[in-house]
């Protein structure tokens, strides 16, 4: 078998060295009735690379890939063009097949990259420091809420109704068990955010306010006043960014006073990947760094005085603190962080700004064209590359009819909020640089037809 180098002769010689008569002897500690004899019944035997590749390719072809036609899905995962060099570099064996950098002398590649990643993320989000990445945006959001409780010693979190409903679900799940109280709700179909109302709800029990920017309906707003209200009440403002490309064009949450900024970094370098692996961004003010979850890479010097990097502040972590750790996390999303960092390096500030501007321009173009369809209107009074369309009918069946025409026309609010009939006519449409003018025309024409 192609991944197993031992030959039968090797195995015999090794058993002799060990002093065992058979492999089975090495499993002597397993109770006899739990020990399986032959290969497990009912399962296929080993297969050639050719056969496996064929099988998986057949499954892959049963999916409609985003590139196969017009594509307008967002709602927390965005399709951007990832330069070929990103994928080339993350496949270098020295990155791909390395472990957590426990031995920094021979892991400076990963460590320096993480230090650069942390620096890029902190700058992008407008904060002081960032960690070496989390599982994804949704778990980062929940960790931020828990972190706010640790800092404020309070247990009530106010969630904006504009927070991604899946992020809300994750927070609710965890809160059930940690005992946090969450105040949340479904969004209403307003042109602007619910932040002013949220500011009014802050009280002395409030650990944090969580807002998404742009929010699930694509709306953007200034969070300066909300940050001030939080600060006045001793609560933390947590900002969630699911589309970091936006920050090439609009102000960073940290600039506007957010205490903790978390995000989904998938947009940059990682790709859609049917939902994962993604890369959670986690950043905060310096003063909170020792309450931060997750890995951190820091600069230091070696015995010869050379600059080098190490994992640091690990006294917060589970392998030192066990049940007193800041979280139970013991991986980051290293390879995705690498992809993010490479793509960000390729873009640079100039490229990111241009990419963001193109996204915004393309979205405006699409919104204008779609709003011309009778009965269709754009909800938002402001947006980056994603906006909510209000249809004259339920959006979910429209999506399926469009899919029959090979158009993936967005995410219906009916899917995101199945229990809320008020939202059923809403359709969240994302427009990135990968969308062409022709795609927009085809989409608009088809939507018009479907709605007719």
């Amino acid at each position: 078998m192609r991944y197993l180098p031992l030959t039968s002769d090797d195995r015999s010689a090794m058993l002799a060295t060990i002093g065992a008569a058979s492999i089975d002897e090495l499993f002597a500690d397993v109770p006899v009735d739990a020990r399986l004899d032959g290969p497990m019944a009912g399962l296929p035997m080993h297969a050639s690379e050719l056969a496996v590749e064929r099988h998986m390719a057949a499954l892959s072809r049963q999916n409609r890939a985003a590139a196969d036609g017009p594509f307008f899905l967002g709602a927390g995962a965005y399709r951007h063009h990832v330069p070929a060099s990103v994928d080339h570099l993350i496949q270098r064996g020295e990155f791909l097949t390395a472990y957590t950098p426990y031995q920094p002398e021979i892991a400076q590649g990963t460590l320096q990259m993480l230090f650069e990643f942390q620096s890029q993320v902190a700058r992008l989000l407008g904060t002081d420091v960032a960690n070496a990445s989390m599982y994804d945006g949704s778990t980062a959001c929940w960790e931020a809420i828990v972190m706010a409780r640790r800092i404020t010693k309070r247990g009530k979190a106010l969630l904006s109704t504009g927070l991604h409903p899946h992020y809300r679900s994750v927070a609710r799940t965890m809160a059930k068990y940690t005992g946090d109280v969450l105040v949340d709700g479904d969004p209403s179909l307003d042109a602007g955010t619910d932040w002013a109302a949220l500011a009014d709800k802050i009280d002395r029990e409030t650990s944090c306010v969580v807002v998404q920017y742009p929010d699930i309906l694509g709306r953007i707003d200034d969070m300066t006043a909300l940050a001030a209200a939080c600060q006045a009440a001793g609560a933390l403002l947590i900002a969630v960014v699911t589309e970091p490309v936006a920050l090439g064009l609009i102000k960073a949450p940290g600039e506007m006073g957010a205490d903790i900024v978390v995000g989904e970094g998938q947009s940059i370098g990682v790709g859609l990947q049917f939902g994962g692996p993604y890369v959670g961004l986690f950043a905060c003010k310096t003063k909170y760094v020792r309450q931060m979850p997750g890995r951190l890479c820091g600069e230091t010097v070696d015995a010869n005085g050379k600059r080098g990097f190490v994992l640091t502040l690990s006294t917060r972590e589970q392998h030192i603190r066990r049940e007193k750790a800041t979280s139970n996390i013991c991986t980051n999303s290293g390879l995705c962080a690498l992809a993010f960092s490479i793509h960000m390096t390729l873009l640079g500030e100039a490229g990111l700004r241009q990419l963001a501007a193109i996204n915004h321009g393309r979205a405006k173009q699409a919104a204008a064209e779609l709003a011309k369809i009778p009965g269709v209107s754009v909800l938002n009074n402001s947006y980056f590359n994603e906006f909510t369309l209000l249809l004259p009918t339920e959006a979910r069946p429209v999506i399926h009819k469009l899919a029959e025409r090979d158009i993936l026309g967005g995410v219906s609010l009916g899917r995101l909020y199945p229990a809320n009939a008020n939202l059923a006519n809403g359709l969240v449409v994302a427009v990135t640089e990968t969308v062409t003018a022709a795609d927009i025309s085809v989409f608009a024409a088809a939507l018009k037809e479907v709605l007719a």
Binding site: A98, R123, D302, E323
Partner: protein, 498 residues
């Protein structure tokens, strides 16, 4: 071997990406970003060079044996990488209409079936993003099950030899953690465990094979006792690679176990992640599994999420992550599983155990092997620092190995052994590679026993000498900042002003 930081070589004006159009003017008013962000850019050529050079400062399984115990650094097949990049998997959106992603659902379902069969369990939660996330999933299932039974049990028992994540997880979910001591032979003390069981005990978290590299002989007895006492058994499956295809945890009474796809099923570690930690569940815990998941029907696959969970899966404890979990790892793991098949996976466990015992027996004469007398080990061999010369430690052996061209083994873990060295060769090492490694480790061990002073300052042939971790933690530098103007190149204004 120094590579400057991107902040030192890049510029905010440079970009390695072209666009086909000029950006149109935005009308975002006061929200428009105006201040500089400070993100350096490089041309594509410089970018490729920067990261290629950086990569060469890493050790990796592609370069040599990587015997980190409990981390299972086995070969990562390149077919896995190719498959994960097929457009139907890599370029599909998690919220696409269900009829357009039947192939993706098929992958999730097919992998789930394999995991269920290999573990002999009832069902599996696929969405946990890593082993520790899986632990949380299992513990939340237990908590939900207890709530459903209306019982308020608050204690989770954790053996000393457990991974640090185990108590962290239990504590995170609001449980009180209590330790259970190990026996002299490096296993859970069954009697101590039994003695502690009672109506306040929600369950146990146990690692099997355990972190000493030993199989918990009494696993079934432990499970039975916990079940009788009304608790649940969580098994940390990080070491499942030692028994895959040979033993089914379901036969030992386990209620929940996470599987690290990057350990047993060869998905790449990537310098620390991403992982993937599906959790297999017993029938008792299955009703509480998180959303979303995939079910198979005559007309195709269906995704169960919030909308339909009400009728299909009312007791779920909720969603653990935004989407479906680590799809990119599912494709890789399934590719690996299909490549090995039932016969190959059994061989994986056997060769992993054979390799570990070969290392154990080849080195027990030169390094202290505390549990060697208690029989064969499983997939990893444990040694201690007993017998090293005064002033020499496990750390010196680790750093010495670097100079021999190896990544060190896991050190100072498990905590039950002083100066522990945990060696896990994995099944993808050849006998020749093991012999070479054994020779290197033997020579270093002899130097540590004989007190060779050169060993204290190892490594000498690595990109860096030993790094000052204390300084790093005392005054953390976590992001790059523009250096202050160096004193020998003062800006003109400074000269004028002083």
């Amino acid at each position: 071997l120094e590579e400057a930081l991107i902040f030192e070589i890049g510029s905010t004006e440079t970009t390695g990406v072209d666009f086909d159009e000029a950006a149109s003017a935005a009308d975002l008013g006061p929200l428009a970003r105006t201040a500089p962000i400070g993100l350096p850019g490089l041309s594509e050529a410089e970018t490729v060079r920067h990261y290629t050079r950086l990569s060469r400062q890493n050790y990796a399984i592609d370069l040599g044996l990587f015997p980190l115990g409990s981390c299972t650094m086995k070969h990562n097949p390149r077919l896995n990488e190719k498959v994960a990049r097929m457009p139907g998997f890599a370029d599909a959106h998690p919220l696409q209409p269900q009829e357009t992603v039947q192939g993706a659902y098929a992958v999730i379902h097919e992998l789930a079936e394999w995991l269920i069969t290999l573990t002999g369990m009832h069902s599996v939660a696929m969405s946990p993003k890593a082993g520790a996330h899986g632990e949380l999933c299992g513990i939340l299932c237990i908590k939900a099950a207890l709530e459903a039974r209306g019982e308020d049990r608050r204690v989770i028992l954790v053996p000393e030899s457990a991974h640090g994540t185990n108590p962290a997880t239990a504590a995170f979910a609001g449980f009180t953690v209590e330790d259970i001591p190990a026996t002299e032979a490096g296993r859970v003390n069954l009697e101590a465990l039994k003695a502690r069981l009672g109506p306040d005990v929600a369950g146990v978290m146990i690692t099997n094979p355990n972190t000493c590299g030993l199989f918990e002989r009494d696993m079934k007895a432990i499970s039975d006792a916990v079940h009788v006492a009304g608790g649940y058994v969580y098994c940390d499956g990080a070491n499942f690679n030692a028994i895959v295809g040979r033993v089914r945890p379901g036969d030992l009474g386990v209620d929940a176990m996470h599987i690290n796809l990057h350990k047993t099923f060869s998905t790449p570690h990537g310098g620390g992640g991403p992982g993937s930690g599906p959790v297999v569940l017993s029938e008792a815990l299955a009703p509480f599994a998180p959303l979303p998941f995939v079910t198979k029907h005559a007309e195709g696959f269906r995704l169960i999420e919030e909308e339909s969970a009400g009728e299909d899966h009312p007791q779920t404890f909720g969603r653990m992550t935004a989407f479906h979990g680590q799809m990119g790892m599912f494709t890789r793991a399934l590719t690996y599983i299909l490549s090995h098949g039932a016969d190959g996976l059994k061989q994986v466990a056997e060769d992993a155990v054979l390799n570990a015992n070969y290392v154990l027996r080849s080195l027990e004469g030169v390094l202290d092997a505390p549990f060697a007398a208690s029989g064969p080990c499983m997939h990893e061999a444990l040694f201690s620092d007993k017998g090293l010369a005064e002033g020499f430690s496990t750390l010196d052996i680790a750093k010495g190995l670097i100079d021999e061209g190896y990544h060190p083994m896991t050190v100072y873990f498990p905590l039950v052994v002083h100066g522990a060295m945990l060696v896990e060769p994995t099944e993808t090492e050849s006998k020749a590679a093991l012999d070479q490694f054994i020779g290197a480790l033997r020579s270093i061990a002899m130097r540590a026993k004989n007190g060779d002073p050169a060993l204290k300052s190892a490594p000498h042939f690595a990109p860096r000498a030993r790094l000052d971790e204390t300084a790093a933690a005392r005054k953390p530098i976590l992001a790059w900042n523009e250096p202050a103007a160096a004193p020998d190149t003062p800006a003109p204004s400074e000269i004028g002003g002083s």
